[in-house]
């Protein structure tokens, strides 16, 4: 039976079994490359997406659990930003994505989709976080290249740009 979900503002229908983790629907059916498979155990955060604005690990969230909710991946952040700020058209990049480029954050970049999603959740709740608040909020996300300091700088930069 088809499951209907809303991803990045668009409605999609998937034949995936209801227990299929959202991640595989996003990657294999919707061909989105932002969310990544990292552990399948909700330990690393590379699969993170926003579900109704909250950071959620798509590798352990059954697709059936997001029916009727709004899923936003890395790709959908500019449109989400436009909606929040009531802009007519979406910018090319969300301020966090721009800050990530300005700070030249990624090394391999594999974890960064999840990092940016987590940062978007953080800034929506706390638009001007301190270093300590940023580190505490980001702590559940792993980066093996160890770009943590650059990530903190980028989040502060994005917060400043919005402030």
């Amino acid at each position: 039976m088809a499951t209907k979900i809303t991803v990045n503002g668009k409605s999609h229908s998937t034949e995936a079994a209801a227990d299929t983790p959202l991640l595989y629907v996003l990657r294999d059916d919707l061909e989105l490359r932002g969310p990544k498979f990292g552990c399948g155990l909700s330990q690393c955060g590379s699969c993170a997406v926003l579900v109704d604005g909250k950071e959620t690990r798509s590798c352990v969230t059954p697709v059936a659990a997001v029916v009727g909710k709004k899923v936003t991946t890395l790709e959908g952040l500019p449109a989400l930003y436009a909606e929040e700020k009531q802009l007519g058209t979406a910018p090319g990049l969300h301020p966090l994505q721009q800050a990530w480029i300005d700070e030249q954050v990624p090394q391999c970049g594999y974890c960064q989709s999840g990092m940016i999603i987590m940062a978007a959740d953080l800034l929506s709740q706390n638009p001007n976080p301190s270093d300590t608040e940023i580190k505490q909020a980001m702590d559940p996300h792993l980066c093996r290249c160890a770009t943590h300091n650059a990530i903190v700088r980028a989040i502060k930069r994005a917060a400043r740009a919005e402030g």
Partner: protein, 770 residues
């Protein structure tokens, strides 16, 4: 449902034989957008493009394609591993060709179109492949000037080039007009080997560094925009038509034999060749569930030493080879005659690469040919391994490299590539294999355990008279590929064993002796043990931990300040400059260690430590500031200073960010990382079993780069990791007066050492040392 739509990178499914059938000189690919190479489109040109087929390094067209619109494609056998090689190599090519940076694109790591410049290892890309590409680009510029001289009928020496436009002062002609869709067709003299690290090209003299306008600039990295929008193609994103999803099912013990298996669930198919077992399914989740649920009977195997006995096991196992790496004078005699003699054992634990994305590959094997998409560091190395494992001629194997999750050494990419190829050959379908987290943590080749015996002697005045460093380290003449072993088609890939650099200090008599060992447990399992491959920096992180910590022990014994102790014995002015810069940046207070409060009662003790390293021509010095919690034993690194001199800097900002990340990663490895195993196999199979550093434990890092624009650029990906662990260990000694001789420096080890001292017993070797 069903087969995913082909993605734009599908165009790359041309085979080497098809390529060669294209006339042996060129192949035309229609409508290849620039973005498919993983970089932002710089031209918007979808016009037919001419690609060189020849991989002969003496053909200029093997290196460069100048397009009619003035853009340039440069080809390199190297791959991007996340530290910015693509950008830095593009800067080098743009600089020599005198074209704007954004007109250069790189094709990386495609065995059909890129010269084999050796695998992307050992921080040797900028160091060795950089000069190769620089020379090719300089020769390319010369070829274009020759064309311009003919066209304008003036001597080439009267011509200048700016932004890809040649001028004789009055008339102008662009590279695009000059090439007019043709190949460059020029030969370059090959002076060294025809492939690999030793490949050396000749021809015209490259540009003087004084004239550089692109090299040395902090050009933004070209791969970053797509990495923050989700457009970047990782190897994990490659999909091809008709593809099945595969998952491997590994044995519980390294030497377990497959006895039987049940029927697969979820419509999956079992793929088996001897002990090589997996499942394939059309949908990825079906493959995952089927692999989880398949009932499999394996035989028991328990040939590994326990973790408690691993270091004595390593010492006791007969070496494959013993080599004196370096020596000065007669160390044994000098030590025998010393007034005070010191000896200590150091050990380092097994560690994992820990890539955030488990390794992945896609393979299409049919009719005796293989097209393979891989995240490998060594496309030509894995190409040869594929040919062996599939038993097909190497000419029939085409490896196309896509960037993978960061690897920092040989992670699971190569073995996952062999897995995908075996599954494709066995099923007759293209197969995508992604390892699960437990596969990556369990089966990526491991950074190996090492053991060190250090001896040092001081004379009556406190001068060092003798030094001896004996190390039991893996041989790494080759790395075993697990899938091929299980399938009964054992392939071993050539590798490196690199204890190269002599000790840094002027000591009258010294020796460095390597005992090269097989993998742990390999003697018990037909040569296949706990498969190992270096994590950055090959063997030197371990060697430097031992030597720079023990050097500090001698400084403390002599009552000397650790920085002065080193400066007095350094003879290389570049090393001296690096160490002085580190001490200055850290506001180093000159005094011996341990510090005045090392035996105090405060809950938190603070200390600072220093260490240096020289790796492949790159100089590093680190100062660590630590806080030791006497109650919990936890070490918190609050700040690191890292100074690096790698000669010429290609991209200062990318360099500094790479160093900062490498330092933080190594703090993690120094403090908490240890693979656990039982007698059968690895037991740390996820991020709870093998934690890595998190945001709240990350130190601030002050990176200082000493640029020497007139010197050869040496490597940077690895070297800065080397002094991190000993700087931390030396800082702990400064803080609390205990010497940590085992990596990682966990709270358990710190507490044990503090408690032992409190009981006034000598620190025994219970802490993991032998």
């Amino acid at each position: 449902m069903g087969t995913p739509e082909p993605t734009p990178n599908d165009h790359q499914r041309f085979t080497r034989s098809a390529l060669l059938k294209g006339g042996g000189a060129l192949i035309v690919l229609i409508g290849v957008p620039a973005a498919v190479w993983g970089i932002a489109s710089t031209t918007g040109s979808d016009a037919p493009t001419t690609w060189p087929a020849a991989l002969d390094p003496s053909a200029l067209d093997s290196w460069l394609a100048i397009h009619a619109d003035g853009t340039v494609t440069a080809f390199t056998g190297k791959t991007e591993l996340g530290q910015g090689n693509r950008t830095a190599l593009s800067q080098i090519v743009a600089e020599e060709l005198d074209v704007p940076f954004d007109r250069v694109q790189m094709v990386m790591g495609d065995t059909a179109t890129c010269v084999d410049q050796g695998p992307t290892v050992g921080s040797l890309t900028i160091n060795l492949a950089g000069p190769q590409l620089r020379q090719a680009a300089a020769d390319g510029r010369h070829a274009l000037l020759t064309l311009a001289a003919t066209k304008l009928d003036v001597p080439a020496r009267n011509l200048t080039v700016e932004n890809g436009v040649v001028s004789d002062g009055s008339r102008r002609v662009s590279y695009g007009e000059l090439i007019d869709g043709r190949l460059l067709g020029m030969a370059i003299p090959v002076k060294g080997k025809a492939r690999g690290f030793g490949l050396a090209l000749g021809g015209v003299r490259p540009k003087s560094a004084r004239k550089y306008r692109i090299v040395g600039q902090s050009v933004p990295r070209v791969d970053i925009p797509a990495k923050v929008t989700g457009e970047h193609f990782y190897i994990q994103d490659v999909r091809v038509p008709g593809m099945l999803h595969g998952r491997v099912i590994r044995p519980p013990g390294l030497g377990s034999q497959l006895i039987s298996h049940g029927k697969p669930s979820h419509g999956a198919r079992v793929v088996r060749l001897e002990n090589f077992l997996g499942v394939v399914a059309e949908r990825e989740w079906d493959a995952i569930k089927a692999a989880e649920e398949l009932e499999v009977k394996w035989s028991d195997w328990a040939g590994l030493p326990t973790m408690d006995e691993v270091y004595s096991y390593i010492r006791k196992t007969p070496s494959l080879e013993d080599t004196v790496v370096a020596h000065t004078g007669n160390a044994a005699k000098a030590l025998a005659g010393a007034s005070r003699r010191f000896e200590a054992s150091y050990t380092t634990a097994v560690q994992t690469h820990g890539s955030i994305g488990p390794s992945c590959a896609v393979a299409d094997v049919k009719d005796g040919s293989a097209t393979v998409w891989s995240g490998t560091q060594g496309p030509n190395v894995v190409r040869a391994a594929l040919a062996d494992a599939l038993d097909i001629p190497v000419d029939n194997v085409h490896v196309i490299t896509y960037e993978a999750s960061g690897c920092y050494g040989r992670n699971g990419s190569d073995p996952a590539t062999i897995d995908a190829a075996l599954m494709s050959q066995l099923t007759g379908h293209p197969v995508r294999v992604q390892w699960m987290r437990h596969d990556e943590h369990g089966w990526d080749p491991k950074g190996p355990a090492t053991v060190h015996q250090l001896r040092g002697g001081l004379d009556a005045k406190g001068e060092i008279v003798g030094w001896d460093h004996e190390a039991w380290i893996p041989a790494f003449f080759e790395t075993t590929v697990i899938g091929s072993v299980l399938a009964g088609r054992t392939v071993r890939m050539p590798s490196l064993h690199l204890w190269e650099d002599p000790i840094l200090y002027d000591i009258p008599a010294s020796r460095q002796l390597a005992h090269y060992q097989g993998d742990i447990g390999s003697a018990e399992n037909d040569g296949v043990g706990l498969i190992s491959a270096w994590i950055r920096s090959p063997v030197q992180l371990q060697l430097t931990f031992a030597s720079e910590s023990f050097f500090d022990e001698l400084a403390a014994a002599a009552g000397a300040d650790p920085v002065e102790w080193r400066l007095r014995r350094l003879t290389d002015p570049r090393m001296t400059a690096v160490l002085k810069a580190a001490a200055e940046a850290a506001k180093w207070q000159t005094r011996p260690s341990p510090g005045p409060n090392a035996r105090g009662a405060s809950e938190v003790a603070r200390g600072r430590g220093v260490a240096t390293s020289l790796r492949g021509g790159t100089y590093n010095a680190a100062v660590a500031q630590v806080e030791v919690d006497r109650k919990s034993g936890k070490i918190r690194v609050s700040h690191m200073v890292m100074v690096q001199d790698n000669g010429m800097t290609i991209n200062p900002r990318a360099l500094k960010l790479g160093i900062e990340a490498n330092v933080v990663q190594t703090v993690s490895r120094a403090l908490i990382e240890e693979v656990t195993f039982d007698r059968s196999n690895v037991t740390s199979l996820d991020w709870e079993g093998y934690p890595i550093i998190r945001f709240t434990d990350v130190p601030t890092v002050d990176v200082i780069s000493i640029d020497r624009p007139n010197m050869r650029a040496t490597g940077s990906g690895e070297p800065s990791c080397n002094p991190v662990a000993p700087a931390i260990g030396n800082a702990v000694y400064d803080a609390v007066g205990i010497r940590l001789r085992s990596l990682p420096m966990t709270p358990v080890r710190v507490k044990a050492a503090l408690e032992e001292r409190a009981m006034k017993r000598p620190i025994s070797h219970r802490l993991g040392a032998v």
